[in-house]
Symmetry: C2
């Protein structure tokens, strides 16, 4: 997702296109998934996912996500070597995208495992489900620094 004629780094002004320029790569949404649904916060934890992201790719994605204000990092008080990564509000706002993707795949491939299943709650009132998880994520990720 780099250069183009206008030098803006975006392919067009279409919102979907711009969203994909930001998080439409192979890894970004998986990193967000881990921050959302697993307790993972550190570099090493994020690297330990099933998908085995290469260490250099993880590093560049974290930088890009931070540049785009989707995540932020804080020094770990318990270990000054490491940072802990958190979602910003902008990052938390991607929750519906992640859940909809998850639900879509689960519907058409029952073998897929859903991190935060709860198909029942989704079917009953998915907006309520978004709100509840969003509330939890805000507690876990915002106002830390």
């Amino acid at each position: 997702m780099k250069k183009n004629i206008t030098g803006t780094g975006r392919r067009s002004h279409c919102a979907i296109s711009m969203a994909l320029d930001t998080v439409g790569d192979k890894w970004s949404l998986l990193i967000l998934r881990d921050l959302m649904f697993t307790g993972k916060r550190s570099y090493g934890e994020l690297q330990s996912s099933d998908e085995k992201i290469a260490t250099n790719i993880l590093a560049t994605r974290l930088v890009t996500l931070e540049e785009n204000n989707i995540i932020y990092k804080q020094p770990d008080a318990a270990d000054s070597r490491r940072y802990l990564y958190y979602l910003t509000e902008k990052g938390i706002d991607l929750l519906p995208v992640v859940i909809e993707l998850m639900h879509w795949m689960s519907k058409y491939n029952p073998g897929a495992s859903a991190c935060t299943a709860n198909t029942t709650a989704y079917k009953k009132d998915r907006v309520l489900l978004y709100k509840e998880i969003t509330k939890q994520l805000r507690k876990l990720h915002l106002q830390q620094g």
Copy 2:
């Protein structure tokens, strides 16, 4: 999105990961956007979008999307050189993902143009909005052949 150790072509069994293996590339969701929100149906029309997808990439994406049952093609009755591309129900079911991505970018970058705006309807009852657009898409895309 190709090989891995198991040879299944997927990175893990996680639903999000699998969804991204299918439509998480730079172009697939843009093609779906055009099928959903513009009247574009033919190869040439799909190629004429602002983002200027390369012709070889468009060709391979259409094949992949068809292999994954997200779109299907029908010969154009009016011009036997061309096919017209339509969404399957599985493809239509990606509507929430596309709308959520669009809404997310619009929220954080007001300069982004939303294909099917209607922020009001989204804020009032987005599930209803999904349903209405889904109904329209079913009429336009399903039961053609």
